[in-house]
């Protein structure tokens, strides 16, 4: 009887030690994660420097390639920041599993940034947003953004995709608030008001 009890106690003690060890291994290191976030941002700066070098060189193909890589790194930076925020929220809420998942997402984003910097660009970014949009529309208007967007007369095609989308948004707001755009604009009025 006593023999059996010692055996069970020994097994339980060993199991408890293993469980504690498992918990320590799964623990998320926030400082390391912040270091990863710094690394992806530094890669974004390097990608921009490569783009500037290509621009100075004047080779259109090199500029296009550097632009794609830079956009892909930017996308990875955004994913990394999102994952870090999720990790912070999970740690604050005491949710170890969610923190661990977010930490894995962050590691994946860091790898994606490294790959993009070295030329492995995802298809969704390799093809410009404009091309993707154009393919999905039948009534092509020739500008970035959604099908119904007013063509942005201030669009600068060689700017980064992020800047172009930002300016398209600004122009869209300006246009819809003007007398010419929006649901109450001139274009929507009846030719004969009566």
């Amino acid at each position: 009887m006593k023999t059996k009890r010692y055996g069970i106690q020994g097994f339980a003690a060993g199991l408890a030690a293993l469980l504690i060890a498992g918990t320590v291994v799964a623990d998320v290191d926030q400082a390391t994660a912040a270091g990863d976030l710094a690394e992806v941002s530094a890669l974004a700066v390097e990608a921009k420097a490569n783009l500037a070098a290509a621009a100075l060189g004047g080779d259109v193909d090199a500029i296009t390639e550097a632009g794609k890589r830079s956009d892909a790194v930017d996308a990875a930076v955004a994913s990394a920041q999102e994952a870090y925020s999720a990790m912070e929220r999970a740690i604050a809420g005491g949710d170890q599993d969610a923190a661990s998942t977010a930490s894995d997402d962050l590691k994946a984003a860091v790898q994606a940034a490294r790959d993009a910097f070295n030329g492995v660009v995802p298809e969704s970014i390799a093809k410009s947003a404009h091309d993707q949009w154009k393919e999905s529309q039948t009534n092509t208007g020739g500008g970035p953004g959604r099908a119904g967007d007013a063509p942005n007369i201030y669009d600068v095609p060689w700017q980064s995709q992020g800047l172009r989308s930002f300016y398209q948004g600004l122009f869209g707001s300006f246009w819809s608030s003007s007398a010419f755009g929006g649901s109450r604009g001139f274009g929507e009025r009846d030719a004969t008001p009566e």
Partner: protein, 183 residues
């Protein structure tokens, strides 16, 4: 015998408890080597930036004083000067942290020094690249390559924002490590 069985199983469990985190930890020597790699990369970036500054000096004298882009050039040079100071200071910090990895009293401390070396080197690299972009703008103006100015200007805006993120994360790492040891 049975008591021995209990002791043996418990010791095996405890050994596994100690062995697993130890296996997961990187060796201090490997960490020191890794930290050195970061410093080497940062040194190369700072060296590139130094060469860009030399090129920029000769480019600057080619720009006519009445150039309409002189104001832009001035702003770029101011930004280059700020980032150059940051890069040089961070490279110094990265070297100091990397040197402490090998002499740290525990693996956990060595890991933290290696992390500090990594982020410091990141700040040095990003600062150096911003310097290079600024001086590429100066070169483009000097060589009248107006078609590339918009791309370089946009790159500069994005790079400056990203470099600020690197510095912000460096501060975050420093705070998190300091909190760990102040508990």
């Amino acid at each position: 015998m049975n008591r021995n069985g209990f002791v043996l199983t418990a010791v095996a469990g405890a050994a596994l408890f100690c062995a697993m985190p130890m296996a997961a930890r990187a060796d201090t020597a490997a960490l020191a080597e890794e930290a050195k790699t970061y410093v080497t990369k940062a040194e190369a970036a700072v060296s590139d930036a130094r060469a860009a500054i030399e090129n920029g000096k000769s480019a600057l004298v080619r720009i006519p004083e009445d150039s309409p882009l002189m104001e832009d050039v001035k702003q770029m040079l101011e930004s280059a000067a700020e980032n150059w100071a940051v890069a040089v200071e961070s490279l110094k910090g990265a070297s100091e942290s990397a040197a402490k990895v090998g002499t740290a009293s525990s693996e956990a401390i060595a890991k933290d020094y290696a992390l500090l070396a990594k982020v410091n080197a990141g700040v040095a690299v990003s600062g150096s690249r911003v310097v290079q972009i600024s001086l590429r703008y100066v070169e483009a103006v000097a060589d009248n390559k107006t078609e590339s100015l918009d791309i370089i200007r946009a790159s500069m805006q994005d790079a400056t924002a990203a470099a600020s993120q690197v510095q912000f994360n460096y501060e975050r790492v420093k705070t998190l490590i300091a909190e760990k040891y102040s508990k």
